[in-house]
């Protein structure tokens, strides 16, 4: 792949920093630092991701979306650290590295329609809004949903439609979706969500606790409707080396 070429990667990063510098919000440098960290982390984890780099469009979105706007005032100093942060109501804003991975895994295309379950702070929705045509996001906690809606509107993400309520049945009026991102904990994949995924569509689910993502599960709906999952350990870690069989 051409975009894996180091020279091209360098150019992309340069362009990212230039575009960000034009809209300097005081956090540009911190954001760039974060992008470099994620880039490095992805290279280190390439064995399990089957790729050296993430989609440049995803990285561009990560470089553009102001994460500090999505965290409580008391956490702004930590907004560009590569870690999850508490946002109140027992919820967190995910680790940027995991957000980038999840966004990349659904292979977002500019014309896509994406459903998100669990709006939270709205950060993942904002990243998706940079990548696809339309984002539909459902938040179960009323207060969080209202705050995220106001925040996304204030930041100009008018291609995000937000609803407060039960996400189990997806969003029938806007289905089918090219991709579904489940950011809230799920005891299982709701059958109606599977039904609302287009053939060829992808659904990504993080597994773990609020602060620690154990693995990412990617559900791929084949053209014939068959479902396959890929279980991705988001870390370069081999439990075993050598031949023992």
């Amino acid at each position: 792949m051409l975009y894996r070429h180091p020279l091209l990667q360098g150019c992309i990063l340069l362009l990212l920093s230039l575009s960000s510098a034009l809209a300097d919000d005081g956090y540009t440098q911190a954001r760039q630092q974060l992008i470099q960290e994620i880039t490095q982390d992805v290279q280190d984890t390439s064995l399990y991701l089957d790729k050296e780099t993430l989609d440049p469009r995803v990285m561009a979105a990560m470089a553009k979306v102001p994460r500090h706007e999505f965290v409580p005032a008391g956490q702004r100093d930590h907004a560009y650290e590569n870690r999850p942060l508490p946002i109140g109501y027992g919820q967190t804003i995910s680790q940027p590295y995991i957000v980038a991975l999840m966004s990349d895994l659904i292979k977002p295309q500019p014309g896509d329609r994406v459903l998100e379950l669990g709006t939270g702070s709205g950060y993942q929705a904002a990243i998706l809004a940079e990548l696809v045509a339309q984002v539909y996001s459902i938040e179960i906690i009323e207060e969080l949903g209202k705050e995220a809606g106001e925040r996304l509107a204030r930041l100009g993400y008018d291609n995000v439609t937000l609803r407060i309520g039960d996400g189990y049945y997806g969003w029938e009026e806007h289905a089918p979706f090219d991709a579904i991102v489940v950011t809230a904990a799920a005891s299982h994949v709701p059958p109606p969500l599977v039904a609302q995924l287009k053939p060829g569509g992808r659904m990504v689910i993080p597994v773990g606790s609020r602060f620690l993502t154990q693995q990412l599960v990617l559900v791929e709906k084949q053209a014939d409707g068959q479902l396959l999952t890929r279980q991705i350990l988001p870390v370069k870690f081999v439990p075993l080396t050598g031949e023992h069989n």
Binding site: S187, P191, P239
Partner: protein, 810 residues
Amino acid sequence: MTAADGQRLPWLSIALVSATALAYEVLLMRLFSIIQWHHFAYMMISLALLGYGVSGAFLLLLQGQLLRRFATSYLTNLALFGVSSVGCFLLAQQIPFNAEEVLWDPRQPVWLLCTYLLLAVPFFFAANAIGLALIYYRERLSRIYAADLLGAGFGSIAILVLLFVVLPLQALTVLGLAGITAALLGVLELRKAGTAAWLLVLLAVALLLLPPRWMTLEMSPYKGLNETLRVKDTRMVAQRSSPLGLLSVVESPTIPLRHAPGLSLNATTEPPPQLGVFTDGDGLSVINRYQGDLQTLAYLDQMTSALPYHLRPVKRGLILGAGGGTDVLQALYHHTSSVDAVELNPQFARLVSSDYADYAGHLYQTAGVTLHLGEARSFVTGSSGDYDLIQVSLLDSFSASASGQYALSENHLYTTEALGEFLGKLSAGGFLSITRWIKLPPRDTLKLFATAIDALRASGVTDPGQQLILIRGWQTSTLLVKNGSITAQELQQLRSFCAARSFDLAWYPGIRPGESNHYNRLREDWFRDGAVALLGEQRERFLEDYKFNLNPSTDDQPYFFHFFKWRTLLEVLQLRERGGAALTDAGYLVLVATLVQAVIASLLLILLPIWIHQRRSRSVQQTVRGSMVVGYFLLLGLSFLFIEIAFIQKFLLFLHHPLYAIAVVLSSFLVFSGLGSAWSGRVSPEARGKRLLQAVSAIVLLGTVYLLSLDGLLGHLTDLPELARILISASLIAPLAFCMGMPFPLGLARLADHAPDLIPWAWAINGCASVISAVLATLLAIHLGFATVIAVALALYALTLWVFPTPCRP
């Protein structure tokens, strides 16, 4: 002669404060398991007990001033214990400690430190009161110590009863009042009635009138219960509390719970309405709404755990860990005509069988279903067997299990011996089925597979692979162990079951490369590769090379959830921000961190005060060698708890219930030690050395006999009625504990003869050693087993003979 000679001993107030302090320790563990998580609760409370060590150091330095006003000092400390036991907990739960952020946020260790410093305060005051009494009444200290032990023995039973009767926070008020009552008793015993008594009554009234908003549990917002309660219209409809846990029943009428972990992606049916039951605010299990229509339970056929029902007809099933009844419903859905459901927690069972019986469709009263209250392993041991299926339910939550919270918890269901027993209770061709969460890289699933191989080999099976099946979805895995070889027809059923639900085959006899890792794809098929390796000749090398500990657990080392390996730690920590944080096995690290902190704090608490004390009193000639004092009381502190902790485990299966084991063993040890202590006071000063020799010889002799024969003996008596088993346990512990009660007061009495100012120092050493002992015993048991813990304890007891404090030669 001392000022205290001839005075009435305040043994009632000593016994009550000791009972309350022990009860408080147990209660704190309960409270912090609810508001935080079990493993950090363990660290907080272990280290808070260093308050005993701090007290010894404090008394060593200030004993002169405090003894001059003994009554005031003693009563003040008792009262402060009562007040601080409530106040410090209420303050501590305001500290914003979040265990999940420890790896990310540098402030979290500071919050943790603040928590246990605060919790140490009540223990400090309780220890001050007891320590002061030991010094003041040093001529009769064996009786003071006896009151201390007898009180603790009473407290160990009282708190278990109390926790069945009231909610944990109400128990806190009761203990606060008990502390103040101890002070009131002290007032009467020391004949100081007057203003002090009225002040104490006022304090008690104030405690009862604390604003309700202060007396609420501040549960971490990240616990499942709190997260669920934020959902619209969700409410808690009932709470039940016991020492086994706080059960919170949650109803969510607008947005149903729909708890169905492991459900196939191909499932088209959703779960029926459910009531959520959280244990200690986490670990969700559910009560399904069931009105007799089995079709509403169709989702239960879409789980990995449904596999055994598809391989052969199950007429007689046994569900271990029935809880809300989901697995019982699964059995009924698959036409199992006779189901034995075993549940440990009677309150949980009552929710289904009584409180929500209509909702649950009178499940436990359904024809063919029999509910048994009790510990699962013991039930199996006593059962007649002949089950077509024994199913061990998936009881722990994924996040708790994945973050290593259970690493310190003993588990007697997943040991090699347990699996062997289960296999022995299967009918010919019957299946044992165990479902676990999928973790990446695999941990529980492969460890269980290795355990099953060992259990089969132990029962004489030469080719275990012929009797094993392992399948996995994206969320759960199910292991089947058959009593007999798996047939071709069963293999055919297995393939069609998995294909219909998109589950992957990870092992069956004759599995071929390319047959696995099809629906739920991993970059490398760790599950199949692991299963193959564990059955192959390279098993030992595989276990050695694997980055997590997959060695099967045994009854002697029942730590199934201990997956930690030191050599993996560095790698995992380096990957912390690259997704690696989740691979940290927190439970074991918490244990080690607790031990390190306890040792450092103990060194400071033992060495610093004696250094200051010696600088102050240079002119006084030292009459007893300090090294002997340290050695003697350190060895006693370590060995006493080693034996106590190991014996709780030894009696756990015999007494058929963890609570009985704790109550009977702990109280027996404390009460009979108390009697031993009282008896040791009858010895003349010259005969103390001889009495110690007799006591230690008896401990070593009895301990060795028990070490070699207790398991066999208890195994023969396990079918006796409950009362008989309790009495036998107490009788077996009595002589050992009686002897174990003697060395400490004998040593203190020797100090009282020759170096009375060092009594508080011995108190400090003993306090610190007890904290280290509890943590070290678990660590030793994890690595070497409980038999080794007992053997080490006996060796330590023997060593005390060499360091029994003797006067220095002039």
